[in-house]
């Protein structure tokens, strides 16, 4: 399978700050690729290099078979982009902005445009300065989704959308995926990444720390349990594969390595189960395993939306 995006050993410095420090990223044609990382990890910088807005200091970057810096204009005919912080011209209406961006790309299908406006419930007559953050994002999303392109680069496109609109967005990306388009989706909303993405790359301090199929990554993750038992569960601490055990009387909370599930569950049932809840390994746990140790304890739960799933 050919790669829509391949980045190898990419370095970009701003003054003394090393924003990208040997980044590796490959996105296969036809996949939806999740691009994760904490604030300031270098996600937007990577995207700006991919768009040829800033130049790389070293490393190789290929986008749709071309050089994003030298072939910017030709490559941009084949991609659409939604910035993380959408800034609209204050005196242009949303409809005008959508049409302008569409015409720059060679025109857009009016039926598709009307359909997207309806699905996203966007009023195209408001002036740019009058839109809320979510509605500004919708303007950029409609402009990008109405374009007939091979690749979409989305930089936290739904951070201002309400849950209903988030669902519409996921639907639209699902359709694009079915049509064989490639999507690079930078996101903080892990539920969205889990729902949409085939593969993910997690970056930290300008380097990729984890990359692969979600199913494979989960293999290294853990399942969380809350159990109440007849006998004291304190002895679970001695079992291999049990982590983060918190015992409170007869109740225990703990995580189990996926490989040790069977052995641990046998031991739990031997103690006499009164109640048991578990939830599957989620991306946020994977995420927390890479970053949680450095997060301030009080911050950790706040930084992970959807942690109650």
């Amino acid at each position: 399978m050919t790669n829509a995006i391949s980045v190898s050993n990419l370095v970009k410095t701003f003054g003394r700050t090393r924003a990208l420090d040997g980044l590796e990223l490959s996105v296969e044609a036809g996949e939806v690729h999740g691009f994760l990382g904490p604030n300031g990890a270098g996600k937007s910088t990577t995207i700006r290099v991919l768009l040829g807005l800033i130049g790389a200091d070293s490393g190789t970057v290929r986008l749709l078979g071309g050089d994003p810096w030298a072939d910017a204009v030709d490559l941009h005919r084949r991609l659409a982009y939604v910035p993380g912080d959408v800034s609209l011209w204050p005196n242009l209406s949303g409809g005008e902005t959508i049409d302008l961006l569409g015409r720059l790309r060679g025109g857009l299908d009016p039926r598709r445009r009307a359909e997207l406006l309806e699905r996203f419930e966007l009023d195209p007559t408001k002036k740019g300065r009058a839109y809320s953050k979510g509605n500004r994002q919708k303007v950029a999303l409609v402009a990008a989704l109405a374009a007939d392109v091979e690749l979409l680069i989305l930089d936290e496109p739904t951070s201002g959308l309400d849950p209903l609109m988030e669902a519409v967005f996921q639907e639209c990306i699902g359709e694009l995926k079915a049509a064989g388009r490639t999507v690079l989706l930078s996101s903080h909303i892990l539920a969205e990444v889990e729902a949409l993405c085939d593969r993910v790359t997690i970056i930290r301090a300008g380097r990729a720390v984890e990359s692969g199929r979600l199913a494979d990554l989960r293999h290294f993750s853990r399942t969380s349990f809350v159990v109440e038992t007849v006998e004291s569960p304190a002895g679970l601490a001695d079992l291999g594969g049990v982590h983060n055990l918190h015992v409170d009387g007869r109740q225990a909370r703990f995580d189990v390595d996926s490989g040790q599930l069977d052995a641990v569950l046998r031991e739990v049932t031997r103690l006499g189960v009164r109640s048991l809840t578990s939830h599957p390994p989620t991306l946020e746990e994977l995420f927390l395993r890479h970053y949680g140790d450095e997060l301030h304890p009080a911050q950790a739960p706040v930084a992970v939306p959807g942690a109650t799933r």
Partner: protein, 528 residues
């Protein structure tokens, strides 16, 4: 919590943000007065010299219009007040309205006011703090100017009156800026409204003073500033008029502020079209759409300025004696036709004003980049140079339109006054001779944008430099090489002299080279 809670903290924040800008404003305004006085001291050291100079200008309506009525021209102080008072009062007014707008509507448009007001900050605190910063700047200009003149040995009363008249004019337009900031949602719109009020005040004062009686001048705050008669039997009560007007405008601004929501303007924004019209197509269509408002406002203002100055053309012939000293100071050497010399002189002034459009239009490149509008454009199939070229065309082509507007206004008024219809095309042509000089300033903005984007606003310093050289250069016996730095020095003094193609082509070549450098540098640098 009172409506003023947090004012002191906000004032400190604004002064901290303006720690370079405000001192520069004070230095520019006070330095301008002091330099002018000291140069008059060396140019006309004796009362006899000054009397000779005064005789040549006292009866001339042209200079009365530009600089206000002459008074006590046999003294250094009188000359200084006459020469700097009106223009500088307008400049201090401009600084003040920009300062207020910058800390009120511009902050509100960007959302920073919302962040501040969500804290323990009262409703009136941001406006109060902005007015305090502008008022402090105006007072500092008044004090610094007065102290400088006293240090040169000028009479204390007159020095204080001249300084105070500048500060008082500033206060009025700080108030005007505060009102304008309540009216529109966009900072550009607010600057436009307050700037138009300042332009109207200048034109009304000029027309009133040129008209002889000066009754009309009393309608203009700039006329009140001039009416203090610094060094010519000081009158202090016109200063009270300024302070009262400033207080009324500020009160009006607070009343308007109480009637509107945060972020909203009193002039409600209307919904736009759901679909883009056929002209909003491509980068050039977008650049035109973004700049057409400025294009219309500037060209209208310049046309009216041209009309006003053109109507004075015939009067310039009243000047009895084409004295050498006048030619030195005010007009470039002509072939003896005073009307044409007058037009050649005022065309430079209007060209300097028009280059304000050229620079602000050229700096739209940087404004679009910092506002984040450039990123989505360059992520679409739009080449960097093509995008930049669209705004360069607006700046350079728009400059031609500005000069045509000046020339048309001037030519129309003079054609009617002189009964000679051929003056219209002649003065349009003469105005267009300034075009290469405007291009050079616009090209400096483009070059800075490409090479040192963070310092792109320094293009305004180039314009300020040209203005100072034009206004004070001859007085200060500025060395030729320094004068030659101003592109306006190289434009032939048409219509007083014949057009010389050489310097115009050289200026154009410099403009092309600078623009090209800027575009190439931009295509190689990081965006954002």
């Amino acid at each position: 919590m009172s409506a003023l809670t947090g004012t002191a903290a906000l004032t400190r924040l604004m002064l901290r943000r303006d720690r370079v800008l405000v001192p520069l404003c004070i230095l520019f305004a006070a330095g301008f007065v002091i330099l002018t006085a000291s140069s008059f001291q060396s140019l006309y050291p004796t009362a006899a010299d000054r009397a000779d100079f005064a005789a040549t200008i006292e009866s001339n309506t042209t200079f009365t219009a530009l600089y206000g009525p002459a008074r006590a021209l046999d003294t250094i102080g009188g000359l200084t007040a006459w020469r700097t008072g009106s223009t500088l009062a307008a400049i201090v007014g401009l600084m003040s309205l920009l300062l207020v707008g910058r800390h009120t509507r511009a902050e509100e448009q960007r959302g920073q006011t919302e962040l501040l007001r969500a804290g323990a900050v009262g409703r009136h605190a941001p406006l109060t703090a902005a007015l305090a910063v502008a008022a402090a700047t105006d007072v500092a200009i008044a004090v610094a100017g007065a102290l400088g003149l006293i240090a040169l040995g000028l009479p204390a009363a007159g020095s204080l009156a001249l300084g105070a008249s500048l500060g008082a004019a500033g206060l009025v337009f700080a108030g005007a800026g505060a009102v304008a900031a309540q009216l529109t949602e966009s900072a550009r719109g607010a600057y436009g409204i307050a700037g138009a009020a300042l332009g109207a005040a200048f034109v009304v004062r000029a027309a009133g003073d040129a008209g002889g009686g000066g009754a009309l001048s009393w309608l203009s705050p700039l006329g009140w500033a001039k009416a203090t008669h610094a060094f010519g039997g000081e009158r202090w009560w016109p200063l009270l008029l300024c302070v009262a007007a400033a207080a009324l405008l500020a009160a009006a601004a607070f009343a308007l502020l109480a009637r509107r929501d945060l972020g909203a303007g009193l002039i409600a924004s209307r919904p736009g079209p759901p679909v883009a019209g056929p002209s909003l197509r491509g980068t050039f269509g977008l650049a035109f759409r973004l700049q057409r408002g400025a294009l219309l406002a500037w060209s209208t203002g310049l046309f009216l300025t041209g009309l006003m100055l053109g109507s004075l053309g015939q009067n310039a012939g009243d000047l009895i004696d084409s004295s050498k000293s006048i030619a030195d100071v005010l007009t470039q050497a002509g072939d003896g036709n005073l009307v044409d010399s007058f037009f050649a002189g005022v065309l430079v002034l209007t060209a300097l004003i028009a280059s304000g459009y050229t620079i602000s239009s050229g700096l739209r490149l940087r404004a679009e980049e910092t506002a984040g509008h450039l990123e989505p454009l360059l992520a679409s199939p739009v080449g960097r140079r093509r995008w930049a070229a669209s705004h360069v065309v607006m700046a350079m082509g728009g400059s031609a339109l500005m000069l045509v507007a000046v020339g048309a206004g001037m030519g129309l008024a003079h054609a009617i006054g002189s009964g000679d219809a051929s003056q219209l095309p002649r003065l349009v042509g003469a105005a267009l001779a300034q075009l290469p000089a405007l291009w050079v300033l616009g090209a400096i903005a483009v070059a800075l944008f490409g090479l040192v984007p963070r310092a792109a606003a320094a293009a305004w310093a180039a314009l300020a430099g040209c203005f100072v050289l034009w206004m004070l250069g001859p007085l200060l016996h500025t060395p030729a090489w320094l004068m030659d730095l101003s592109p306006f020095e190289h434009v032939p003094a048409v219509p007083a002299t014949a057009v010389a193609a050489g310097p115009l082509l050289a200026l154009t070549a410099i403009a092309v080279a600078l623009t090209g450098t800027g575009l190439v540098a931009f295509s190689r640098r990081d965006v954002g």
